[in-house]
């Protein structure tokens, strides 16, 4: 089965979900899809460029707050507001990416964390604008353009989120399979060597960081109008860690893995936290087990079991696979 067939079947099955799922589950499912999209955006950095961002929540929060403010202050149609929010977030991300990509490894993790915390602090600093710790409530979902209003219902919103997730997946897939993606893999495996081959690695890192912010902001921009409010919780640094966990457990460097990780962890959390208060304990243990014993993640385990690992021309995946097995 090639990936296109798999993609079409998955998309088709996903479209049928609202038909079989009870209405109260749809809220959780929509949030899970949004989180899947968020986790996938981080995978561009973690899985493909080995830039561990510990402040990716900034992308999410930025997207959420920009879309919330746009919807509250201007009477924009929802899709336009979301697109604008992503564009504005990417514009804000540009100088941030410029600074962060001066470094790599631990310094990069810490710098991204610093920017996310700065955003968190600014939320509290400009209370009049951002609502401070109260956040922003009553975010509307205005209809339009062209009289579109299907996203005002919950089922309709599900299809919009699904469309964004699948579209983003295709875009990211195209990006990482392009010559651009091959250079990213080069940076991941050995940055000095890639630089020595004549590539301006910093420019590549900058672009992939802005792209990751853009997709992360899309997830945030989808979340705020759905929830109807935006609170500083959306900027809280622990979410950066949680989403990193989802990427790793799902399988970094696969795009699909993080989506699975994000979707399933959110659903599992929702189901389990009703049954047991021990959920974070289980969550933490599963995570440590994956880092220790299965760094390739769920998707990596699945694909290794059933198919040959895909070896892409120009990337150094075989080298990585060999190391994972040693």
């Amino acid at each position: 089965m090639n990936w296109k067939t798999g993609f079409v079947i998955t998309a088709f099955v996903a479209c049928l979900v609202p038909l079989v799922s009870p209405n109260y589950m749809m809220t959780v499912i929509i949030e899970a899809l949004i989180f899947g999209l968020f986790a996938m955006s981080l995978d561009l950095l973690v899985g493909y460029t080995r830039l561990y961002s510990f402040g990716h929540v900034a992308a999410y929060g930025l997207g959420a707050y920009t879309s919330a403010l746009l919807l509250l202050h201007f009477n924009l149609p929802l899709p336009i507001a979301i697109i604008l929010a992503v564009a504005i977030s990417m514009a804000i991300a540009t100088p941030i990416a410029w600074v962060c990509t001066r470094t790599h490894g631990v310094s990069f993790a810490m710098l991204t964390l610093a920017f996310a915390q700065l955003g968190y602090a600014i939320l509290y600093g400009f209370k009049d604008f951002t609502g401070g710790s109260n956040g922003l409530a009553g975010i509307p979902r205005p209809e339009g353009p062209f009289g579109l209003d299907f996203f005002q219902s919950k089922i309709g919103y599900f299809y919009m989120v699904l469309f964004c997730l699948l579209g983003s997946y295709l875009l990211c897939r195209a990006l990482v399979n392009s010559p651009f993606g091959a250079v990213l893999a080069g940076i991941r495996e050995n940055e000095p060597k890639t630089a020595a081959l004549g590539y301006n690695t910093r420019a590549y890192k900058r672009i992939v960081a802005i792209a990751a912010y853009g997709f992360g902001a899309l997830a945030g921009a989808l979340y705020a109008p759905f929830a109807g409010f935006a609170s500083p919780e959306l900027f809280f640094w622990l979410i950066s860690g949680t989403v990193l966990i989802m990427v790793i457990v799902g399988g970094s460097g696969t795009l699909i893995g993080p989506i699975i990780g994000g979707v399933f962890f959110l659903m599992l959390e929702n189901q389990l936290s009703e049954v047991t208060s021990l959920w974070p304990l289980i969550f933490g243990s599963i995570f440590i087990a994956f880092v220790m014993f299965a760094p390739q993640g769920i998707w990596g385990l699945l694909t290794a079991r059933f198919t040959k690992p895909p070896v892409q021309p120009g990337s150094d995946r075989d080298g990585e696979a060999a190391r994972a097995h040693s």
């Binding site: 080995r50 001066r102 490894g105 631990v106 310094s107 610093a114 920017f115 915390q117």
Partner: protein, 290 residues
């Protein structure tokens, strides 16, 4: 209120704050220097220290005993964690793996503490001899904070002398410079790593016990403190002991005076300070870029 008195008490406040921060940051930076690990669980170990300290003080009635028991218990927990998990990751040579395993530990420890001690905060009472205030330039100042300054100063001096003057300190510095060479010369580097990790955790626990009489032992204390500690270590330079002292002072002063002059932007000032330093010197003030 006259300005000199105000400046004095605020500065002393900042120094006592710096003392608490130093206990966390110094362990964090030593661990980083020797293992290239950012220990995300450091804040949780600080918190565990505060809770163990509370239980000890509650059982024996002695704050001083808590200051001894908590570091030992938490240090042992740290060493066990290093032996069980971290030591198996060294061969992988992937900095991200440590970040994530220690993050997992932070999550687990936060939950374990909640299960054992419950969701409510626990206060440790200040020992009798440190209660009350002293009058400095007509300004009252809590005795306990003065004690913190003295204790922090002694700990910093002691650690510094330990690193500079003793054979164990020499080994630690050697491992942080070139672990392979030290291993080749016949030292058990793994042992050094376990001990330093345990020592760093014990220092964090000490900080936790010291902070508890002021802020009580509560479940959120790890999150607030770990970010401060990161900022300090990044400002000072990761792996630099002197850097952690300078960083603690800078952050404490930024927090105390920032909270007074720009109450809205107090948090942002700390992060701005860090960003400026990182942009100018990506490795921190006294560190080298990794």
């Amino acid at each position: 209120m006259d300005f000199v008195g105000f400046l004095l008490t605020q500065s002393l406040n900042a120094f006592s704050q710096a003392a608490i921060l130093f206990f966390i940051a110094c362990g964090l930076t030593l661990i980083f220097g020797i293992m290239r690990i950012i220990n995300f669980a450091h804040g949780s170990l600080f918190m565990l220290g505060a809770y163990v300290g509370f239980s000890t003080a509650a059982a024996t009635g002695s704050f001083w005993l808590a200051l001894i028991v908590a570091p030992i218990v938490v240090g042992a927990v740290g060493m066990a964690f290093e032996k069980l998990f971290l030591s198996r990751l060294y061969i992988r040579g992937d900095g991200g793996a440590y970040l994530m395993v220690t993050f997992g530990l932070a999550v687990i420890m936060g939950e374990t503490i909640r299960l054992i001690w419950g969701p409510h905060p626990h206060g440790i009472s200040t020992p009798d001899m440190l209660r009350g205030v002293v009058i400095l330039l007509d300004q009252p100042f809590p005795k306990y904070r003065l004690f913190l300054i003295v204790f922090g100063l002694l700990a910093a001096l002691g650690t510094w002398q330990f690193l500079e003057r003793t054979r164990a300190g020499l080994l630690i510095r050697a491992v942080s410079q070139n672990a392979e060479m030290v291993q080749a010369l016949g030292t058990d580097v793994q042992m050094v790593r376990t001990c330093v990790f345990g020592f760093g955790c014990a220092m964090a626990a000490l900080g936790g016990v010291l902070a508890a009489p002021m802020v009580t032992a509560f479940l959120g204390m790890s999150a607030s403190v770990i970010i401060d500690a990161f900022v300090i270590v990044i400002i000072g330079g990761m792996g630099s002991f002197l850097g952690s002292i300078i960083g603690s002072l800078l952050v404490a002063f930024a927090q105390v005076f920032g909270a007074y002059y720009f109450p809205n932007m107090a948090l942002a000032i700390m992060y701005l300070l860090m960003l400026v330093i990182l942009v100018v010197r990506p490795g921190g003030l006294l560190g080298k870029e990794e």
